[in-house]
């Protein structure tokens, strides 16, 4: 199989697998007071320091969670509640219109159930945030802003957001910023302290660590209300017995991936450029969505996202899958139906073109062979998918 869906999940790094496997033999709850508990706690705290060093955060700023989605929910809801509690006028939530569903749906829930007023901030044709709109929205009523949420890099089209500008603008008005850095972490240089963000979400399985573990980085002075109550294991912000083996694997993956970042990013950008050139050569009217880059501060090095006019993305995915090439159409609803992407719609693509889109994403195991297989398969797949689309249209008019 040629796996080009690393943005969905990427294989564990062998070193992370080894460390995690070893710790699965350990007995001990990190919250227990006896020797076994202390040993498990030591595993967690060493991992916390290791992760902090890799991602530019103090160990005390790291709240381990059950994954990126939980981290995003904790940040959005927790920041909203604590900011509103401090000043009841703070009910506005400003979020980019291209956020991952973990942020998008949490924000929408606050709007539907918690009295929040939601402002969806526009992006341009490349998916980049409109900074003037951000500043205008904050300035229109600075005292009413609870928080700003802007992802570091987009999971679908790979566009990198001007996160430092976002933080700078928000800081001028004293407004906290949350950023979903699940895709950006380890592909880009991500340093939490230097970023000035109030909170930032990362995920284990997107960087070569295990599934089911993530972290919310919470600045030392930032107040966040918990969403999961219980033993208060993580700074009283998150409860639940800590998964020491997964946390250890997560931290090892982060350390290694960050150490290899520059070389890896360069290698993947090269593969990505070959993929883009190959796909456009095979399907001349294919459109590269998102910022063309190629600089890493504009487009994630491992992302290539295309619209194939006249095709249905789900037909393309099936045809490529049958040829051993794994890619993604973006998000699907709970029944498994491919949805027109809110990201592409926000970028101004029409719904039909957005349904014709596919994402290819590379990772640490990607090779020339993977790219060659995708390039070889795409031309015939597009031709067939176009015929299928026409056949269905013809049957409609019968």
């Amino acid at each position: 199989m040629h796996y080009l869906d690393h943005a969905a999940t990427t294989p564990m790094l062998p070193e992370a697998l080894e460390v995690m496997s070893a710790h699965l033999h350990d007995l001990g709850n990190p919250s227990s007071l006896h020797a076994a508990g202390r040993a498990a706690r030591r595993t967690v705290e060493e991992a916390r320091e290791q992760l902090g060093a890799a991602i530019g955060a103090r160990p005390s700023e790291i709240i381990f969670t059950g994954g990126g989605t939980e981290a995003d929910n904790l940040a959005i809801k927790g920041l909203y509640w604590s900011r509103r509690a401090a000043d009841p006028r703070r009910v506005r939530v400003l979020a980019s219109s291209v956020e991952h569903h973990a942020v998008l749906d949490a924000v929408a829930w606050l709007g539907a159930h918690q009295g929040a007023e939601i402002v969806w901030l526009p992006v341009d044709r490349l998916g980049r945030l409109d900074l003037d709109a951000l500043e205008a929205s904050i300035a229109s009523d600075r005292g009413s802003v609870a928080l700003v949420a802007v992802m570091w890099a987009n999971n679908e089209v790979g566009t990198v957001q001007p996160i430092h500008d976002v933080v700078e603008i928000a800081a001028r008005y004293g407004v906290p910023v949350h950023s979903d850095a699940v895709q950006a972490a380890v592909q880009l240089e991500v340093d939490f302290t230097a970023s000035g963000l109030s909170t930032m979400a990362i995920s284990g399985h997107k960087i070569g660590g295990p599934l089911g573990v993530g972290a919310l980085l919470v600045g030392r002075d930032v107040l966040v209300e918990p969403i999961v109550h219980g033993g208060g294991q993580e700074r009283d912000l998150r409860s639940g017995t800590l998964d020491a083996p997964a946390i250890a694997g997560f931290a090892v993956a982060a350390e290694i991936a960050v150490a290899r970042r520059e070389g890896q990013a360069k290698r993947l950008a090269g593969l990505r450029d070959d993929l883009i050139a190959g796909v456009i050569a095979a399907v001349p009217d294919a459109v590269l969505n998102g910022d063309p880059g190629p600089e890493p501060d504009r487009r994630l090095p491992a992302n290539a996202h295309f619209a194939f006019p006249g095709c249905e993305g789900d037909a393309l995915l099936m045809l490529l899958d049958a040829n051993g090439v794994a890619c993604s159409t973006g998000s699907a609803c709970s029944a498994g139906v491919a949805q027109p992407s809110h990201v592409l719609l926000a970028m101004g693509l029409d719904p039909e073109l957005s349904r014709s889109s596919l994402r290819f994403s590379l990772g640490h195991t990607s090779t020339d062979g993977d790219v060659a297989a995708a390039v070889e398969a795409i031309g015939p797949a597009v031709e067939r998918a176009r015929n299928a689309r026409q056949a269905v249209e013809a049957s409609r008019s019968r």
Partner: protein, 374 residues
Amino acid sequence: MRLLAAMSGGVDSAVAAARAVDAGHDVTGVHLALAENPKSFRTGARGCCTLEDARDARRAADVLGIPFYVWDLAARFREDVVDDFVAEYAAGRTPNPCLRCNEKIKFSAVLDRALALGFDAVVTGHHARLDDGVLRRSVDPAKDQSYVLAVLTRDQLAHAIFPLGVSTKAEVRAEAAARRLAVAEKPDSHDICFIADGDTAGFLRDRLGSAPGDLVDTDGAVIGSHDGTYGFTVGQRKGLRIGVPAADGNPRYVLSISPVDRTVTVGSREELEVDEVIAERAVWSGRPVDTSTEIACVVQVRAHGMVTPAHVMVDGDELRIRLAESQRGIAAGQAAVLYGGADDDTVIGSATITRTASADLVRRRDSTGIVRIA
């Protein structure tokens, strides 16, 4: 062959796909998402388009070890089945949405897409047989679905595979259990999948609004009122809300529905009896027939109705079907399906009923003998 197995999440389509795999075909499973909002369709195991059904279909595909995808046909289903259903009732006819779904969705939109994508045929869990491309009843008469498939053309049937027609439903369930398919005990689906609560009249009222009119007897006397002709089906007895009892004290039935003047005509059980059926849009999918002469066959005029011997004359676009035994409750919009004969359960063809006639009425009422249903 490369086969696309339509998997509803029910026991039949799961076993059909399994048999196709066993036969050595290269099978891909597809669940058709037909609801634009899956939560609005039937919940639990009764419908064909719920989240649970999508999950069940996926699990069955996992067990069979075949690739599985969900195809979104919700917009097409709304246009070709749901909107058509509402329009047919509005026109005073009684549509069969399962038949329309086979004609327009499963063996048109899905089949055409499958063929274009490189598949050779579509496999479904329908209870029917194909003998050399000719549609035939299932060996299980209680579960036979040839009636709702008879609308398919020879070309459509040439790309269809029905692996279950040689088995009874009990055998299919036993096989599902033996194959460890979790859907083995799932209840059969019935009714109309897109009407969540089973309240067809309410569903139609929401879409067509209130259109009050008169309930009249065969002499034209007004004996009641109604909120909309679409709440009635020919042959219906319950819910007529007639204020005046019949002279003979016997129950009365809906005889005809006329949406144009919003009139519903009721009468006795005898007046419901029909000797002749007129149908149009004929599809001849079975053994070659000489349409220039009278065709002797047996005919079925309802999905779960009785069959009767009949003689069919083709008159231009119309079929005139003379029934050897009169039938009650034949509604315009339903299909008349022609089968070979008493000992021949292959389908000759199918057509859509437009109106009926009764020899009795000719005698008694000295009229033209044609009762216009719509």
